[in-house]
C-alpha cells in the first residue's frame, strides 16, 4: 500500500477523473442501440471509447505504481504560479458571463484592466491604455472592417 501514498496526488486525481468519465460514457452509450438492422448503432462507437478511457486510466495508475516500485522517475505535478492562473481564470469566466448583458467591448476592457492591474501588477495608466487601445483596435478591425458580429451591450457597442 506504500505505493499508493507515493503516487502524485494530482496524477491520481486526473486518472480517477478520467476513469469516472470513461465509465459515464460507457453507461450513456449502453442506453443507445449497439447494433441496428443496418449495422452498428449510435452506441457502438461511444461504448468502445468509454471502455478504452476507463481501461487506459486504470492502466495509467497501475503503470505509475509499477514505476515507483522499480524506482523509475515519475511525473511530479507542479502547481507553482497557480494563484494568478486561478485569478485569470475567474476573471475570464466573469468576462464571458458579462458578454451578453454588457457586450464584448465593455467586458473585454474590464477583463484587461483586471489582468493588467491584479495579475501583472502594472499601473492604472498602463491598464487603461492597454485595455482601451486594444478594444479600439478590435472594434475597428473586426466590427468596422470585417463586419464580424460581436455581442453588443445596451450602449450600442
Amino acid at each position: 500500500m506504500g505505493g499508493w501514498k507515493s503516487l502524485d496526488k494530482s496524477e491520481l486525481a486526473g486518472a480517477l477523473l478520467l476513469m469516472a468519465f470513461g465509465a459515464f460514457v460507457t453507461v450513456e452509450a449502453w442506453n443507445w442501440p449497439y447494433l441496428t438492422k443496418d449495422g452498428p448503432g449510435p452506441g457502438f462507437f461511444p461504448l468502445w471509447i468509454g471502455i478504452a478511457m476507463a481501461g487506459l486510466s486504470g492502466a495509467l495508475v497501475v503503470l505509475q505504481l509499477a514505476d515507483i516500485k522499480r524506482g523509475r522517475p515519475v511525473h511530479r505535478t507542479s502547481w507553482k504560479g497557480a494563484g494568478p492562473v486561478l485569478a485569470g481564470c475567474l476573471a475570464l469566466i466573469v468576462a464571458v458571463a458579462l458578454l451578453k448583458p454588457a457586450g464584448f467591448l465593455a467586458s473585454y476592457v474590464l477583463l484587461t484592466i483586471f489582468l493588467v492591474r491584479a495579475v501583472f501588477r502594472q499601473s492604472w495608466t498602463a491598464a487603461l491604455t492597454v485595455s482601451l487601445a486594444s478594444a479600439a483596435g478590435f472594434w475597428i478591425l473586426f466590427v468596422k472592417l470585417l463586419r464580424v458580429q460581436l455581442p453588443v451591450g445596451p450602449w450600442g457597442f
Binding site: 494530482s10 496524477e11 486526473g14 478520467l18 470513461g22 460514457v25 450513456e28 443507445w32 442501440p33 447494433l35 441496428t36 443496418d38 449495422g39 452498428p40 448503432g41 449510435p42 457502438f44 462507437f45 461511444p46 471509447i49 478504452a52 478511457m53 487506459l56 486510466s57 492502466a59 495509467l60 503503470l63 511525473h75 505535478t77 507542479s78 502547481w79 504560479g81 497557480a82 494563484g83 494568478p84 492562473v85 485569470g88 481564470c89 475570464l92 469566466i93 468576462a95 464571458v96 458578454l99 464584448f104 473585454y108 477583463l111 484587461t112 489582468l115 495579475v119 501583472f120 492597454v130 485595455s131 486594444s134 478590435f138 473586426f142 470585417l146 464580424v148 458580429q149 460581436l150 455581442p151
Partner: protein
C-alpha cells in the same frame, strides 16, 4: 493540347496586368483574413467570394485561388507566434512553431513556413498539372473501408505526438474521439451527449476546442509564469529573423515529404489538410535522427506540416476540376463559385475551358511567388509581436480568441466551451498530457465512425470488409506497424537493460 502549350497559354493569361493584380489582391486579402483565428480558408474564401462574382470566370478563379493560398499561409502565423491555431491543419504547426518562438526563433519559424508553403504549393501545382486525371480516378476507388483505414493511419500518428507517456496520449486522443460523437447521429437522427443544449446538436466545433486547449491553455499557463517576470526573446538583426542555411538544409526532406503527402491526401475527398499535416509530421518525426527534438522547436516540425497544408490545395483541386467533386469545405465553395460563373465542373471542364484551367494553373505558380515575396519581408515585422510585454500580449490573445470563437456561429455556448477547454488545456499541461492527440481524435473521429458504420452496413456486419481490400489492408498494416513500433523498442530496451544487469 499538350501540357507545355497549355501552360504557355496559361501564363500568357495569368501574366496579364489585371490578372496579376487580382492574384496579388487575392493572396494579400487571403493572408490578412486567414491570420485571424476562427477564419480558416473556407470561411475566408466564403467571406471574399462576393468580391469575385462580377469578374470574368478566369479572373475570378485566379483571385479565389490566391485567397485560398493566402488563407492557408495566414493560419500558420498565429500558430507560430501565439499558439492560436486558426484552423485544424495549423494545430501541428503549433507544436514546434510555437516552441521555436519561445526559443527566440519566431522569425526563422515564420520564414520556413513561407518557404515550405512556396515549395509545396509549387509541387502541388506541378502534380495537379501532370497527374490530375489518373489520380482523380484512383481517388474514386476509395470506399468506406479505405477511408476507415486512412483514418486509422491518421490516428496511429498519436504515437508520434505522445510525450513521455503513451497512455496519456491515448487518453487525450480518446477524449477527442468522444468530443467527435457529440451532436446528432446522422445515421439514426438521435442526439448524443448534447445535455439538452440545442447548440450542441451540430457537434463541437474544432475551432472552439483548438483555441481553448492551445491558446487559452497557453495564456493561463503563462499567467503563472509571466507574473514571475519571464518573457519571449526576439533576437535583433535581420539575419537572426530569417531561416539560415542550416535550417533550409535540415528541412530538405520535410519539404518533399510534406509536398507529396499533402498532395496525395488532398486528392481524397473528405480527408483534407488536417490529416495531411498530421501524417507528414509523423513521417518526419519517424525518419528523423533526432526525434526527441520534435515538440521542442525542431524546424522540420514546422516545414513538414506547413508544406502538407499548402500542397493539399493543389491536391484538393484535382477532384474538383476533373470530376466536379468538392473534397472539402473550401473546394465546395469554389465549386459553387464555378457554377455561379456559368462553368460546368466535371470531366469536360479542362477540355471545354482550357483558358480557365491553364490560367488557374499558371496563376497558382504566380500566386506562390507572390505569397513568398509578400510574406518573407513581413516576417521580421510579425516577429516583433512577441516583443510586446505579457500584460499587452496575453489579454490581446484572449480578446482575439473570444472573437474568433464567437464569430464561427455567433453563439455564447461556444465561448463557454472555449473557456472550459482552456482550463482543460491548462490542466493537461500541468499533468503532462499532450493536447495535439485530442485535436487529432476530434477531427478524425467523426470521419472514422462514419467510415466504420458505412463499411459494416455494406458488408451486413461482416468485419472482414475493413481489412480484406488490398488498399485498406496496406494502410492498416502501416497503422499497426506505427502503433506497435514503440512497444517493440520498449521491450527491446527492457531486454537490453536486463541483459546488462545480468552481465
Amino acid at each position: 493540347m499538350d501540357v507545355l502549350t497549355g501552360l504557355m497559354q496559361g501564363f500568357s493569361i495569368a501574366l496579364e496586368p489585371m490578372n496579376l493584380l487580382w492574384c496579388f489582391i487575392g493572396v494579400f486579402f487571403g493572408t490578412v483574413v486567414g491570420v485571424l483565428p476562427g477564419l480558416g480558408p473556407s470561411a475566408t474564401v466564403a467571406l471574399l467570394l462576393p468580391l469575385t462574382l462580377q469578374m470574368n470566370p478566369t479572373a475570378g478563379i485566379i483571385m479565389m485561388s490566391g485567397i485560398y493560398y493566402g488563407a492557408k499561409y495566414g493560419g500558420s502565423t498565429t500558430s507560430i507566434l501565439l499558439n492560436v491555431p486558426g484552423e485544424s491543419a495549423s494545430v501541428v504547426t503549433c507544436l514546434d512553431g510555437f516552441a521555436m518562438a519561445r526559443n527566440g526563433r519566431a522569425g526563422p519559424a515564420l520564414g520556413i513556413a513561407a518557404i515550405s508553403s512556396f515549395i509545396a504549393g509549387t509541387v502541388g501545382v506541378v502534380l495537379l498539372m501532370l497527374v490530375a486525371p489518373p489520380i482523380a480516378e484512383f481517388a474514386l476507388r476509395f470506399g468506406p473501408p479505405e477511408y476507415f483505414a486512412l483514418m486509422a493511419l491518421g490516428l496511429s500518428m498519436v504515437v508520434l505526438l505522445a510525450g513521455k507517456s503513451m497512455i496519456k496520449a491515448l487518453l487525450s486522443m480518446f477524449l477527442g474521439l468522444w468530443c467527435a460523437t457529440i451532436g446528432i447521429d446522422l445515421f439514426t437522427d438521435g442526439t448524443r451527449f448534447t445535455f439538452g443544449q440545442i447548440e450542441l446538436m451540430d457537434g463541437v466545433n474544432f475551432v472552439v476546442v483548438a483555441i481553448g486547449t492551445f491558446a487559452i491553455g497557453e495564456v493561463l499557463t503563462n499567467l503563472g509564469v509571466q507574473s514571475s517576470g519571464q518573457n519571449f526573446t526576439v533576437p535583433k538583426g535581420l539575419r537572426n529573423l530569417l531561416p539560415n542555411w542550416q535550417d533550409l538544409k535540415d528541412c530538405r526532406f520535410a519539404f518533399l515529404n510534406g509536398s507529396l503527402v499533402g498532395f496525395f491526401v488532398g486528392v481524397l475527398p473528405g480527408a483534407g489538410s488536417t490529416i495531411a499535416s498530421f501524417v507528414s509530421y509523423g513521417i518526419e518525426k519517424a525518419v528523423s535522427r533526432h526525434p526527441e527534438r520534435f515538440g521542442t522547436g525542431a524546424v522540420e516540425g514546422v516545414a513538414a506540416p506547413e508544406a502538407a497544408n499548402n500542397s493539399e490545395t493543389g491536391g484538393a483541386l484535382v477532384p474538383l476540376l476533373t470530376l466536379g467533386i468538392p473534397g472539402s469545405g473550401t473546394t465546395a465553395i469554389l465549386l459553387a463559385a464555378l457554377i455561379l460563373w456559368g462553368l460546368k465542373p466535371g470531366p469536360l471542364l479542362i477540355q471545354d475551358n482550357p483558358q480557365m484551367f491553364w490560367g488557374l494553373v499558371a496563376s497558382m505558380y504566380i500566386g506562390n511567388v507572390i505569397l513568398l515575396i509578400l510574406n518573407l519581408p513581413l516576417v521580421p515585422l510579425f516577429a516583433q509581436i512577441l516583443r510586446l510585454p505579457g500584460y499587452v500580449l496575453y489579454p490581446g490573445i484572449l480578446g482575439v480568441s473570444i472573437i474568433g470563437v464567437y464569430s464561427v456561429d455567433q453563439t455564447l455556448l461556444d465561448v463557454w466551451l472555449m473557456v472550459g477547454f482552456g482550463v482543460l488545456g491548462y490542466l493537461m499541461r500541468r499533468l503532462d498530457y499532450p493536447a495535439a492527440p485530442l485535436i487529432l481524435g476530434l477531427v478524425l473521429g467523426d470521419l472514422m465512425e462514419n467510415a466504420v458504420r458505412q463499411s459494416l452496413m455494406m458488408s451486413n456486419g461482416d468485419i472482414a470488409i475493413l481489412y480484406s481490400r488490398p488498399l485498406a489492408a496496406t494502410m492498416l498494416l502501416f497503422a499497426a506497424a506505427i502503433l506497435v513500433g514503440p512497444l517493440f523498442r520498449q521491450v527491446n530496451s527492457w531486454r537490453l537493460k536486463a541483459a546488462e544487469q545480468e552481465a
